[in-house]
């Protein structure tokens, strides 16, 4: 491989293993984009991250991590109107925020191609809902493309720009997390010449001005363009009919679910039915659907969520007078991710065929096992400042797992890494919905329920996203609430993008134009503003306590950088001290003799580096700080009520050998290998 960076330099004939998100970005690059932006959000983040990371080696490329999706899509529109092909990416719920620019985009149209890549998240592994954004297109008229694999993710994105220009729509490229985070083979195409990318805004009042009659005219224009696009899509390469044999049954599907469908049919050995693969799921041309219906008396629509395709296709079937039966949600569930298992089961049920025996056995065995397995949920990283923040807040409001004490205060949650605080052992949120709902809902609760203290939590990035007007609103309308801004300097959850108040970059360079969060909050009219390090848990907890006694809006900034970023920077700058431990350093240790197992560190703080071990001689359990995991934040040492935790000089290697020997002994009853045949 002569080219060191295929993402930037790859040309036709090259191939590589590429992540779905990177394939989308590469498609945009092949199409010659000059603008790329997003507000970071899982599962879509890498789409813009990979472009941003490589921008110094890509001519004429502007990238931006915008403060929110509304701004980001508007930015893409501005670039498009300046003649620059633009890519905007966001997660599913991002479109709620960007729905306003999206609505207007069809009215005004684009100049240079504009693609909106949306990472949907069925099953919500990284989101607070699993909404299917395709429904937006029924009223904003954005055409939707749904690639099924890595190759299509690139190819469709590239083509989407041409279609966007041809029909003057912003085109949605829909990719569920299964595709965003799928990695597979990608064959590259050629890149466009980038030297000519240059902005030139030309006035176009007929399209860009929307008011009164002008808006009505633009409305009519986009309905017309939509009809033209429908015509184009009858014969396009994106929608494909695969003919069957004499069967009168047909399947319709799109996107990743289409990939599940094709593999399921192969697994079940079913090859003789007609199939319609929809590359475009909006708009759907009646004529294409009519052609597919020919010769069929049963049509099965295989798709995720509530049935966006079924909704449209049933309408078309009615208009065409199709006499056959159309099935969909009878066989495929509406909630959660539609997995390949769901598709196999749905198809077997439809044909009333038994499931393959190996599959059936595995499903049954899994059901039987699931109930016996302890649940496992994610938690904060070891040394994460959020853990200390939650611990302090909970202590300040009287919560204790060990003593079975409920907290008195209402705690409003919000979106970010700190959302994990709603999980056990903290259970530190009473509601969680969308970005900045915490303070928005909390400030009203504080007005109507005067008996309870209300605390609202927010991360730095989430606050900048859309929290400023909410805070201003709370101040202006006399709510009585404690607002804790967990400022870890980064948009950490989505891969550590900078925020306006990130002071130092990962290489130690100071950032330009750094915002002072405390000053900003003050300028919004908050007189009670404190900023302190949450890892000083005692001080932090008492600050919370005294703030709760004050009337009005109080703001406490929990200021400490994300431990991962701090450790990375230290590694880059080759600094020792804080961050991940190495042999021969000073470490924290629990003195067995002093520890009374009060559970303050093990359950209440629940740092994962504090683990349970068995004493070989006595057979008793004891708490132990795993030196290979502990990052020496010192929080446990501060909270231990019995001064059982101390800092010591430690030799990691010797310690581990000892631990090893003990473990081998305890595992002796089971042979180390159980091998019958291969």
């Amino acid at each position: 491989m002569g080219k060191s960076n295929l993402f930037v330099n790859g040309t036709k004939g090259d191939k590589a293993i590429v992540l779905g998100n990177e394939a989308i970005a590469r498609g945009a690059l092949e199409a010659g984009i000059g603008y790329a932006s997003m507000y970071p959000g899982t599962p879509a983040s890498e789409i813009i991250a990979v472009l941003d990371k490589n921008k110094s080696s890509i001519e004429n490329l502007y990238t931006e991590f915008s403060l929110n999706e509304h701004i980001s899509l508007h930015g893409a529109i501005g670039a498009s109107w300046s003649g620059i092909r633009s890519l905007c990416a966001m997660k599913n719920v991002g479109l709620n925020v960007a729905s306003e620019p999206a609505q207007f985009l069809s009215y005004t149209g684009v100049k240079a191609g504009l693609v909106l890549a949306i990472g949907s998240d069925p099953g919500a592994p990284s989101s607070s809902n699993e909404q299917d954004d395709r429904w937006y297109s029924l009223h904003n008229y954005m055409p939707i493309m749904e690639p099924s694999n890595i190759q299509e993710a690139k190819d469709f994105t590239k083509d989407a720009f041409d279609i966007s220009e041809k029909f003057s729509f912003g085109v949605v490229l829909m990719a569920p997390s299964r595709l965003c985070h799928n990695a597979g083979t990608l064959y590259f195409g050629d890149l466009r010449d980038r030297s000519e990318i240059k902005g030139d805004f030309k006035k176009d009042p007929e399209n860009y001005l929307n008011l009164f009659g002008m808006a009505v005219r633009n409305h009519a224009k986009y309905l017309e363009r939509n009809e033209l696009l429908k015509k184009y899509l009858i014969e396009s390469k994106f929608n494909k009919i695969i003919n069957g044999s004499s069967s009168k049954i047909g399947f319709i599907s799109s996107g990743v679910v289409y990939a599940h469908l094709m593999e399921s049919l192969d697994i079940l050995g079913v090859y003789d039915h007609k199939i319609l693969k929809l590359g475009f799921t909006f708009p759907l041309p009646g004529e294409l659907i009519g052609r597919f219906f020919e010769g069929l008396d049963k049509v099965v629509i295989v798709e995720e969520a509530e049935g966006f395709l079924e909704f449209q296709i049933k309408k078309i079937a009615y208009e065409l007078g199709f006499k056959g039966a159309i099935y969909g949600k009878e066989f495929f569930k509406q909630t959660g991710e539609l997995t390949i298992d769901d598709v196999i089961v749905g198809i077997s049920n439809f044909f009333e065929k038994p499931l393959p025996s190996y599959f059936d056995f595995a499903v049954k065995k899994d059901k039987e096992l699931r109930d016996k397995l302890p649940q496992r949920s994610g938690t904060f990283c070891i040394g994460c400042p959020h853990r200390a923040t939650f611990y302090s807040i909970l202590k300040a409001v009287g919560f204790s797992n060990t003593e079975g004490k409920e907290r008195e205060a209402v705690i409003a949650g919000d979106i970010g890494c700190y959302t994990l605080g709603l999980l056990p052992p903290y259970n530190a949120m009473d509601f969680l919905t969308c970005m900045n709902a915490g303070l928005g809902i909390g400030q009203a609760i504080s007005i109507f329920d005067k008996q309870k203290k209300v605390i609202a939590l927010v991360g730095d990035s989430t606050f900048y996203h859309s929290g400023i007007p909410v805070l201003l609103n709370a101040v202006q309308n006399g709510s009585d609430i404690l607002y804790v801004i967990l400022d870890n300097s980064w948009t950490a959850m989505t891969g550590h993008q900078k925020t306006p108040s990130t002071q130092k970059d990962i290489d130690g360079k100071p950032s330009a134009n750094v915002l002072n969060l405390k000053d900003l909050v003050k300028s919004l009219g908050v007189s009670y503003v404190k900023s302190l390090d949450p890892n000083s848990v005692k001080r932090f907890a008492s600050q919370i306590k005294s703030a709760l006694k004050e009337p009005g809006v109080k703001v406490i900034i929990a200021k400490r950088e994300c431990i991962l970023q701090e450790a990375r920077r230290n590694k880059i700058l080759n600094k020792k001290g804080s961050g991940f431990a190495e042999a021969g350093e000073s470490l924290y240790e629990i003195q067995k003799s002093r520890c009374v197992k009060c559970n303050e560190c093990f359950v209440e703080l629940a740092c994962p580096a504090i683990i349970l071990k068995k004493d070989e001689e006595t057979g008793n359990d004891y708490y132990y700080i795993d030196p290979a995991s502990c990052v020496k934040c010192g929080v446990c040492c501060e909270i231990c009520p019995n001064s059982a935790i101390r800092k010591v000089e430690f030799d990691l290697k010797t310690e581990f050998k000892l631990r090893q020997r003990a473990e081998i002994k305890s595992a002796e009853e089971v042979p180390n290998e159980v091998r019958i045949n291969v």
Binding site: P374, S377, V678
Partner: protein
């Protein structure tokens, strides 16, 4: 068309995604080979369950590769569809056991990471013997080691356990990918020396 499916499971932060990436990159040499498979990663969640799939596809000929009924592959592995399962955490092996069948090879790491529910005393962590006996009800090809210990012993850190486990897979199962192809991938990038050493350690298990 032949397929070979590998499911890799464990916890966030254990290097599971990297294992998948290495395995996939080793399959780029022939045009009739294809690879797919998704990762499940929920944001920056540490210590949560993570899985990644590696699906190797070997086409008989060019026309099969172009056949739309054969050339589209799900990014997921169906229940019972994995030829091999690697797990970097003992309990999670059982969560990943939905992917295996009676012929599958299972490689798992013996070092437990205790979930919060166990910490809080609501549930208990299963014994290794229970995990093995449950797996034995599905397949007899089970191998387990303390990859944490091997990594710490040889590298003074836990970070190489994933590549050691990868070596163990190649030592115990017949994988339709050349060992040299994996080594060629491990040679690229930073930490190549440690990665190659870790892989060789695994191969000797």
């Amino acid at each position: 068309m032949k397929k070979f499916n590998i499911a890799i499971v464990g916890l966030g932060g254990q290097g599971i995604i990297t294992m998948g990436t290495v395995m996939k990159n080793a399959a780029l040499s022939s045009d009739l080979q294809d690879v797919s498979g998704s990762e499940r990663r929920g944001g920056a969640q540490r210590e949560g369950y993570v899985e990644t799939f590696v699906k190797y596809i070997f086409y008989e000929n060019e026309s099969e590769m172009k056949d739309p009924r054969k050339s589209m592959h799900s990014p997921m592995i169906e229940s019972g569809g994995a030829d091999a399962l690697i797990s970097l955490e003992p309990l999670e092996t059982l969560r990943g056991a939905c992917y295996i069948n009676k012929n599958s090879i299972v490689i798992f790491n013996k070092t437990p990471y205790i979930p919060i529910s166990v910490r809080m005393g609501q549930t208990s962590y299963p014994e290794i013997s229970f995990i093995v006996s449950e797996l034995m009800k599905i397949t007899e090809n089970i191998f387990y080691y303390d990859f944490d210990a091997i990594s710490l012993e040889n590298f003074n850190s836990l970070t190489q356990k994933n590549i050691i486990a990868l070596g163990a897979l190649f030592a115990k199962a017949v994988i339709p990918i050349e060992i040299a192809a994996i080594e060629n991938i491990l040679k690229i990038g930073k930490g190549s020396e440690n990665n190659l050493k870790a892989f060789k350690l695994g191969l000797k298990l």
